[in-house]
């Protein structure tokens, strides 16, 4: 009987741990609807990403690609999140030495 109760509790706990599919559905839809409403085709999105990279790379030595580049929901706001790795100081573009 004690084994059975332990089994039952484990079963219930396992069922609770997995995210319910209704929650997953809502989260997925939130992202899909943002994309749909923006009406921004993927080629335009790609062009914007490229331009932003070019601008940033003029000032900083940065990795070849973004770690993250997406439009998503942050609380009530729709935001563009872009993360790019800045290479360490030794790799920074050298500042020209002042003329002696």
């Amino acid at each position: 009987m004690r084994d059975f109760i332990r089994w039952l509790v484990n079963q219930l706990a396992a069922a609770e741990e997995e995210e319910r599919s209704g929650v997953t559905a809502k989260q997925r839809l939130q992202l899909v609807l943002i994309q749909d409403r923006l009406d921004l085709p993927s080629d335009k999105m790609e062009a914007m990403k490229q331009e932003i990279w070019e601008v940033v790379s003029r000032y900083l030595a940065v990795a070849e690609d973004f770690l993250e580049f997406e439009i998503k929901k942050l609380d009530e706001l729709v935001v563009l999140v872009s993360n790019i790795q800045v290479n360490d100081a030794s790799e920074l573009i050298p500042v020209p030495a002042p003329a002696v």
Partner: protein, 272 residues
């Protein structure tokens, strides 16, 4: 008299537009209104079979618009409601047989005779949808709590806005209360948050809608059918009555009580 012309639409097919139109039309007629329902799904007509009127069709919507018959000749009187009429779609024609302007003119004529002109819109967002939307002054959107239906509904809301049909009202159809309770189906609040529209009604998943369709008798006549009473309440809201939403939440089961006892029932289920 100036009637209200309302399009029942969804984007995605198979979510229950025709069932909603038949039941809403019947329920409004039961409330004493003069109602005409128009099947605008040319080439794929179905409203006639759902209402059990398929054997009475002589003329159809395209015949009226092309002037092959008088408006009244294409209006089939319902079997049960004396003030309910159906204008069926043409079955052997395609969606380009009519122009938006022609359907709008027809609806304007009907508004002079009827309290409600309901249009069952075809699925999709092409010609047939555009015809029905152009003729309508109000819109009712039908969805189910599924990702594909909700995504399409959102797209349709945008298109309705573009056609000056603002603030469409939403019917959420085929809600499985047990799945909602277990967190495996989005609830009313989730869907409202996603679509930002006003909810007109919640219809539970109900086998009675299938048996009613089999018989060609709208489910609003079945007093035991939960979906039927949901449609009666929706009709009352369309009519301007304040009707509280049905409690679709099933009683807590023994399993929930066990979980509660062992402290595992932390999630709050709120819906309907």
């Amino acid at each position: 008299m100036t009637g209200r012309t309302i399009v029942i639409t969804s984007g995605k097919g198979g979510v229950g537009k025709t069932t909603a139109t038949a039941n809403l039309g019947t329920a409004l007629a039961m409330r004493g209104h003069k109602v005409v329902v128009i099947d605008t799904d040319i080439g794929l007509r179905n409203l006639d079979v759902i209402m059990g009127l398929e054997n009475r069709i002589v003329y159809d919507l395209v015949n009226v618009i092309e002037g092959k018959c008088k408006m009244h000749q294409a209006m089939i009187r319902d079997k049960h409601q004396l003030e309910l009429f159906l204008i069926p779609a043409a079955q052997t024609r395609d969606k380009d047989s009519i122009e938006p302007e022609q359907l709008r003119e027809l609806c304007e004529k009907l508004e002079n005779e009827f309290d409600y002109v309901l249009m069952d819109c075809p699925a999709g967002i092409e010609g047939g949808f555009k015809n029905a939307v152009a003729a309508a002054k109000e819109a009712i959107l039908v969805t189910t709590p599924e990702v594909s239906a909700i995504r399409d509904a959102d797209r349709v809301i945008g298109l309705l806005e573009a056609s000056e049909l603002h603030r469409p009202k939403l019917i959420i159809n085929r809600i499985d209360t047990n799945m909602v309770k277990h967190g495996d189906m989005m609830n009313k609040d989730d869907i409202v948050e996603l679509l930002s529209v006003e909810v007109l009604g919640l219809v539970p998943a109900d086998e009675h809608t299938i048996t009613a369709a089999n018989r060609g008798i709208p489910v609003v006549y079945d007093k035991k059918a939960p979906s039927g009473s949901a449609f009666l309440r929706i009709a009352a809201r369309v009519d301007g009555d304040e009707v509280p939403f049905m409690d679709l939440e099933p009683r807590f089961s023994i399993m929930d009580r066990v979980k509660g006892l062992v402290g595992l029932n932390g999630r709050a289920y709120s819906h309907a």
